[in-house]
Symmetry: C2
Subunit: 300 residues, 2 copies
DNA sequence: GTATATTGATGCCTTCTAGTTATCACCGAT
DNA sequence: ATCGGTGATAACTAGAAGGCATCAATATAC
């Protein structure tokens, strides 16, 4: 089949008009050209598609079948082209998004919900992972956007501050510090702490330790857990208290309570991070939407 | 999109090799020709499909999408061509078959069963109708093959004798004639008859009347029914007896019985009839199979 | 660091496909 | 018999597609 798509189009028009001259006019060519094109098409297909004599033209049964086939070919082609353009423009395709505990407990679900409406033809893949892991995945191309605890340092990465979390204290409801009206970090110096495990929570824990040292104590960390759910669980067990981001304070366990930390102005910044070395139109479109969304939600 | 299928094929090969020279060799063209073809394709599609620099070629995301689209286009085209050839050869398509009571009660189901295995891609439409009706439908093109009581007289029709039925008598089990050992038509002269209605059973009834007159009586027809089931039912009711084709003797009603008619050598011929003015490859293939099938089943 | 090999892109020329014009053969209607 | 319509055919022409030679950029070898 060396025949071009042009001939298929000619055949479609001819099948609809059943008149060579008329079809040729609509196609913007002359009748002999159409005659020859159809002959060549029939040679290629290997069977007669039209029965023609000097007074009428009609489709053979094979021609009817081939006509339906042509429509499928044409629509497949249209689909391929328009889909490719959409993919190039970021309106269709795949997007793999990484996120942390803090992001998924905070603003991320609102944004994702908004994104799914804005880009309905994009298939989203969400992967929970520690910030460090997400960084590696960004480099490997396994992740298009990471929502991770910043700052990101790599030259290949661009980022956008997405969420700013205050520090809060998580306490068992019966804990003595829960009764203090205006709670400072200093009030907590004497109590045992539960924190995230040192390997994956490296950056966060270092930040917390700096805060403690700034007010003159080193916390007594008696337990560590791999994720926020584990930390909250341990606090609920009464094994200690913890300092976490305010987004995690939404977890509704009746055995625990949350308190603002006065005197601590630091924020934990969750950033949207992406790898500028990979070209990914859907990701770029997503970043655009993210910027617009942040302006919108700030305005609210 | 004025681009030919050739370019899609070039793109597929290039996408698989990711190397212009190598792909060009496999395609039997030179590298510059391929370079230009791909550029023109990208212009047509409206977006870049391949990221290329001096050391490597790789598909863009849009290119990956378009590649999948190309495969769909190509397989749609292959399908269209091969399906058209099958239709032209009679291996695929539609076949509308008309049949009479006698045909469907006789050999037709065996043949149809065989046909469905031989031509699995043909969709069969079966329509029961009187012979006269089938003739008209053949002329209108509403029927591809009729299995009807012959002979057919039209010049446009070709036919093949399909089934030869002896005449049999249908009697209520308690009927006095049921006790006669060797039954002749003459034995039935005194009894009331149930026959097919005069409009649709015209040819058959005329045949029957000739048989009766040959042995010197005119039957007393007291009831008529539109179809064989009705006739058999009326006989079961005891309203009369009937003379029918032996194929109808397969109906297993316990209240009736069947007897050979001695001395009657005539046969009712059921023919396969088709309209030679329409070209219908599936029908032609079916006739071929029918001829072969008749030789086979005669041999058994 | 230079030389060499390999990559895809470009310019010019050739080839062949596809289109145009002119004409034919055939049929139905007037 | 003529006229108006059909599709097919032949000869010619224009434009797309391919080939050849070459370029620019990069990677590899020594």
């Amino acid at each position: 089949m060396q025949t071009g798509l042009r001939r298929l189009h000619y055949f479609q028009q001819l099948a609809s008009d059943l008149n060579f001259r008329q079809a040729a006019v609509k196609l913007g060519i002359t009748q002999p050209a159409l005659s020859r094109a159809i002959n060549l098409l029939e040679d290629d297909v290997g069977t007669r598609l039209l029965e023609r004599d000097n007074r009428e033209v009609r489709l053979t049964l094979a021609g009817e079948s081939f006509l339906r086939g042509c429509e499928r070919v044409m629509s497949a082609l249209d689909g391929a082209v328009s889909q490719a353009c959409k993919v190039a423009d970021g309106q269709a395709g795949q997007l793999t998004v990484g996120y942390t505990d803090t992001a998924i407990s905070g603003l991320l679900p609102d944004f994702i919900r908004c994104l799914r409406i804005a880009l309905p033809e994009v298939t989203l893949h969400l992967k929970q992972a520690y910030s460090q892991q997400q960084k590696e995945w960004l480099d490997d191309g396994k992740l298009d956007i990471a929502f991770m605890t910043g700052p990101s340092e790599s030259d290949n990465h661009a980022s956008l501050d997405f969420q700013h979390d205050r520090f809060i204290v998580i306490l068992p409801v019966e804990h003595p510090a829960a009764k203090i009206r205006s709670l400072n970090l200093e009030h907590l110096a004497e109590y045992p702490f539960v924190m995230g495990d040192p390997i994956h929570w490296q950056v966060y824990n270092a930040h917390f330790l700096r805060l403690c040292q700034a007010v003159g104590f080193t916390p007594d960390i008696v337990q560590s857990a791999p994720d926020s759910r584990g930390i909250v669980g341990m606090v609920a067990c009464g094994m200690g208290i913890s300092v976490q981001t305010e987004s995690l304070g939404k977890q509704g366990d009746p055995r625990i309570t949350f308190r603002r930390l006065n005197g601590v102005t630091d924020r934990v910044v969750t950033q949207a991070v992406w790898n500028t070395r990979f070209s990914q139109p859907v990701r770029d479109k997503t970043i655009q939407h993210l910027k617009a969304w942040m302006v919108d939600s700030d305005a609210v």
